[in-house]
Amino acid sequence: MRRLIAPLSVRQKLLAVVLVTTLTALLVAIAVMVGFDLRTYRQSLISDMTTQADLLGRTTAPALTFDDPRVAQENLELLHYRPQIRAAAIYNARGKIFASYSGTDGREFPKLPEADGTRIEGNELVLFKRIVDSREILGTVYLRADYELYDRLVGYLGIAAIVAAIAMLVAYVLSRQLQHIVTSPLLAIAGVAREVTEKRTFSLRAPKLSKDEIGMLAESFNTMLAEIERATRDLQASNEVLGREIAEHNRAEQEILRLNTELEQRVKERTAQLEYTNGELEAFCYSVSHDLRAPLRAIDGFSQALLEDFPKDVPEEARRYLSRIRSSTQRMGQLIEDLLNLSRVSRGGLERRDADISELARQVVTELQTREPQRKVDISVWDGMRANADSRLLRAALENLIGNAWKFSSKTDQPRIEIGSLSDDGRAVFYVRDNGAGFDMAYANKLFGAFQRLHSGNEYQGTGIGLATVQRIVHRHGGRIWADAKPGKGAAFYFTLESDGVEKAGRDMAEAQA
């Protein structure tokens, strides 16, 4: 049953329910009515026949008493007014048929009367009734009547069928009309649900057409839709935010790319500019080395020529002036030389190789001793000092440092110069130390600037470019240079030839500030 109903629509289900219910109710009602009616019919038939038999007995009693079968027969013949009674008979007290009546059929009568009672035989009712008069049994009445139960039943069923058909028709029409009350709110909800599913428009709402469970269903459904709509809106909002963020991110990336390209372009431009400037600088240096020297040479040369060619015409004062001119030109020449050296150590490649510092230092020392053989200086150079460095630049640095030590110890008794190395955190620190003039550490920050001098030209010769050159060489190797000195007690210059990281540099800055 359920399986039959399940695939039907709600409308059809409702209709089916109504019709089945109506039919069942109708059938039960009809069955009860028919049963009741048949029972009544049987009782009334029995009672009717009993009365009839009674009546026959009373009218036939005198005939029996007087043994007059004709009267009895007449009485019986009257029964033809009741076609319902098929046959009747009167038995006398001895049980013999006294009179008989037979309707349409010619069936035989029972041979002997039976005791009082009724019984159903097929579609016939059989009745025996004693005829009693003042305590004496006179005879027995026999009646056989139509018992039309089957016909009645068939008639009733026909009526029931017609009634049921009409009732069902009415029920069908009524329920068709009335079911809208139930189904239309449901169908409305279903329609909205279908539309929501198909079009995903969560703003739709189911109409609330009733205040019953379906109304509640519509409300719940609407609440759910509102919830989904809100959630969807939130989701869309967050999607939009996400989309915007992604777009923003992409834009930022594009921007970075663009900036990078721009930066690269700028770097290229700057590099080109720098290369150009470098070229200019080299051309300038070349000119300096050539063109600035020539006039100096002329000044010096012709000053000397003046002295040599006119020995008598040049007064003593003029000679002194000429000698000042010549020493100035020489100083100028030296300045140009030093400047060229300074620029030379900045240009060109850095060719790091295993350099023998001890050997380089000894070469420099030998040169100094050859230049000024009259000076007696106690010089010690440690053995086995090596570094991964550009030996040409390193030699230039040592020439300056050892040359300074040589120069500033010229006025010291028992001058001493030491070239050695220490180890600081496993890193080699080289030093050049002398016991010469030294300097005040208050001016230490000026030591390495070009043209900075801590001694006057009268005391010691110099251009003030040497230490700037040394510092540049050390920096090109990624190293550091610093000094320690006291006026009159000598000076020591320390340097490293490899980079020592940020941490160390920070510590040095702290030391310098202290």
Partner: protein, 146 residues
């Protein structure tokens, strides 16, 4: 055998005069030819231009060549001298103010016999020049003529 000749290629009149003076002080009395740019130097040596018709039998015993010259640079001059069989073997002393290693290297590469820096101080300069004259004129044997 005629006296050996010195040729000086120098555009700076001061340097020219100082060089001559130094040679004089070094008691060098040989004939001295002065040309003032690279082109003139080549014209003299090969007997072209203003020196057309010059007796090419007479070649300088030594050439003192400045590097920085108008028109043709000293290195150009040296290259051309070395590429001609007539001048290939003439001793050339590069005499310059430049102390660039690069210049020295290139001079030797194209065939300079000597490279001498002109010092600012005249005493040293005069010394250097007279010693050069002495060496190339008196001590050095000029290659036999081809």
């Amino acid at each position: 055998m005629s006296q050996k000749m010195i040729m000086i290629v120098e555009d700076n009149p001061d340097d020219e005069e100082l060089t001559l003076r130094a040679l004089r002080q070094g008691k060098i009395a040989n004939e001295i030819v002065v040309t003032r740019d690279g082109n003139e130097a080549l014209e003299f040596v090969f007997g072209r231009g203003q020196y057309a018709g010059r007796n090419l039998e007479r070649m300088p015993a030594v050439i003192l060549l400045d590097l920085k010259l108008p028109k043709l640079s000293g290195l150009e001059v040296l290259k051309q001298l070395r590429s001609d069989p007539r001048t290939k073997l003439i001793p050339v002393v590069v005499l310059t103010s430049s102390s660039e290693d690069e210049d020295m290297l290139r001079s030797y590469q194209v065939g300079a016999n000597s490279y001498v820096r002109k010092p600012v101080e005249f005493g040293s300069f005069a010394n250097a020049v007279s010693q050069l004259g002495m060496y190339w004129l008196l001590l050095n044997e000029t290659p036999p003529r081809a």
